[in-house]
Amino acid sequence: MATRKITFREAINEAMRLEMRRDPTVILFGEDVAGGATLPHMEGENKEAWGGVLAVTQGLAPEFGRNRVLDTPISESAFIGAAVGAASTGLRPIAELMFVDFLGVCFDQIFNQGAKLRYMFGGKAQVPMVIRSMIGAGLRAAAQHSGCLYSIFAHIPGLKTVVPSTPYDAKGLLSSAIRDNDPVMFFEHKLLYDMEGEVPEDNYTIPLGVADVKREGDNTTIVTLGRMVHLSLEAAEKLAGDGIDVEVVDLRSISPIDEDAILKSVKKTHSLVVVDEDNPRCSLATDVVALVASEAFDYLDAPCKMITAPHTPVPFSPALEDVYIPSVDTIVSTVKSLRE
């Protein structure tokens, strides 16, 4: 398969484009996903308009038309509910819900409707839909546009929750999510959109619930996901200079979660650090530590450590937000502390 370098943003766009070409029941809607594209006065350079606030869906409306790429009113409950209803009656909707923080306004449609419908109906329905949403701090976007919050969705039975870290993974995981017959929350870290990586031109899928070892090592296991994968890899390089060889396990999906991959790595390295940009209470980080404590306690040479955002909203000021986000230095010092 021919590959070339494209951005995380382009990889996501390409997954949607290829899945929409492949399956006429795949449709996309959300606030500004067409963003003026295809309007009669939009010509030349303006033809593609917004394509979402960060241009992830650019070019899809011109290709597929406004019947399959629909702007919505700022009515998250209505269009997320419409996605649930459409999914249970024959479409495969992708609903783009700008920022994860906004999911608060339509949570009922996600966790009481989309997530529970199949179970409540005794398995006689399915809800093949994807909700795509941006996560993550670092854009100085303040408390209502910067959260991660994915742990909340992983907590809910009936939902799947995916957090990709690279362009390659983003494309393959999104293709899987669109083809999946359950509702999938697909979270895109906004600081990753411009990251480039090798991505095959053709369509491919990466199964949900399979972690990827992004760096092999023997000393300590770092379990992480999303943007934190890259900070962890950077930390791993620094630690390698000090003779500490860490393994970086990228979860990619947190529900389902690849427990085997976590345990296999910890049994090899005998220590665990979880690096998670989400808030710490009842979170992915605590979940992974609980798993290792229950299933691999005898293999541990040191206490499990969690590096997470603090238990606070995301602050605005650059001086504060930089403190909020887990840092490479913290990862390095934490891993080193396990050896003291």
Partner: protein, 322 residues
């Protein structure tokens, strides 16, 4: 099109099925045979029957916590409904949903719903499906006067109109949101007046008058099927039972209850059907006898059905979860 003799029997049978089903469930609940919460539809039969007679199996409805009537009118199997209310393995949802979540997607019934106002957004889904795939399917969203005050209903009506979806919003205004009267919780004179805000037709009809509902619903459903977009119908009626079983209905006066009994939708329908010679006493008696047997059989079916296997707790959460 006016009600043909054949359709007269159909709607009458639907109404009687709903009434007998609900009266029976009330009785079973009082006997302690039915677990959980039940919200009964008796008194509102003309609405579900008068609307759903215009729908085919391929059309969809979304429902409310008071959903038994919608299920029956949309053709959900009565035995499977009763078994579901009991929580049995043979239930419409294998006993996993219960009264508040009875559904049959194959019959176009997208579920009773425990969340007030949740059906509006959901109804936009099959509407969008029909529009995207170019089918002529129509979706009816039943909601109560209480749900009318949820933001979700505003969002859904606006979205449905923005997208010109083939929808009909049917507000079943039974006068009370739980115990709170509509005159208190609704700032508008008529819930149907809100249609103006979305530039769609809105009309209030007598929710006990099957003939009026039949005609109004027919116009709205035909309009939706023609691709001309949504309508809002407010049906003003009442419910005989409380918000849920166990509610002593202290918020209604005896006069009000008496007034309601005098406008019973089934009695009125029979009276006018007989007057217009669209129904005969013999036909009425035949339906009553037949439906009584159907309900009796449904109870036997439910009681004889097995409880779900304990393993069922763990299934049907996902289609596939590695």
């Amino acid at each position: 099109m006016s009600l043909t003799s054949e359709k007269m029997i159909d709607v009458y049978e639907t109404m009687v099925k709903i009434r007998m089903f609900e009266d029976k469930v009330a009785e079973l609940f009082a006997e302690g045979k039915v677990p959980g919460f039940v919200h009964l539809y008796a008194g509102e039969e003309a609405i579900a029957a008068g609307v759903c007679i215009h729908l085919t199996e391929r059309d969809y409805i979304t429902s409310t916590h008071r959903g038994h009537g919608h299920c029956i009118a949309k053709g959900v199997n009565i035995n499977s409904m009763m078994a579901e209310v009991y929580g049995k393995a043979n239930g419409a949802c294998k006993g996993k949903g219960g009264s508040m979540h009875i559904a049959d997607v194959e019959k176009g019934m997208l579920g009773a719903n425990g969340i007030v106002g949740a059906g509006g957004p959901l109804a936009c889904g099959p509407g969008l499906m029909a529009k995207t795939l170019g089918t002529d399917q129509v979706t009816v969203c039943f909601f109560g006067d209480g749900a009318a005050e949820q933001g979700t209903m505003h969002e859904a009506m606006n979205l449905a109109c923005c997208w010109t979806l083939p929808l009909v919003f049917v507000c079943e205004n039974n006068g009370y949101a739980e115990s709170t009267p509509c005159s208190y919780h609704c700032a508008a004179k008529n819930i149907s007046d809100r249609a103006v805000a979305y530039d769609m037709p809105g009309v209030t009809v007598d929710g006990t008058d099957l003939f009026a509902i039949y005609e109004t619903a027919e116009e709205a459903i035909d309009r939706a099927r023609r691709g001309e977009g949504p309508s809002l119908i407010e049906c003003r009626g009442f419910r005989y039972y409380g918000h849920f079983e166990g509610d002593a209905i202290l918020y209604m006066t005896e006069e009000e209850k008496e007034h309601n009994r005098a406008r019973d939708p089934i009695d009125n329908f029979k009276k006018r059907g007989l007057e217009r010679r669209l129904l005969s006493e013999a036909q009425i008696a035949e339906v009553d006898t037949r439906v009584a047997a159907i309900i009796k059989e449904a109870v036997e079916f439910a009681e004889e059905s097995a409880w779900p296997d304990s393993e069922e707790v763990f299934t049907d959460v996902y289609v596939n979860y590695p």
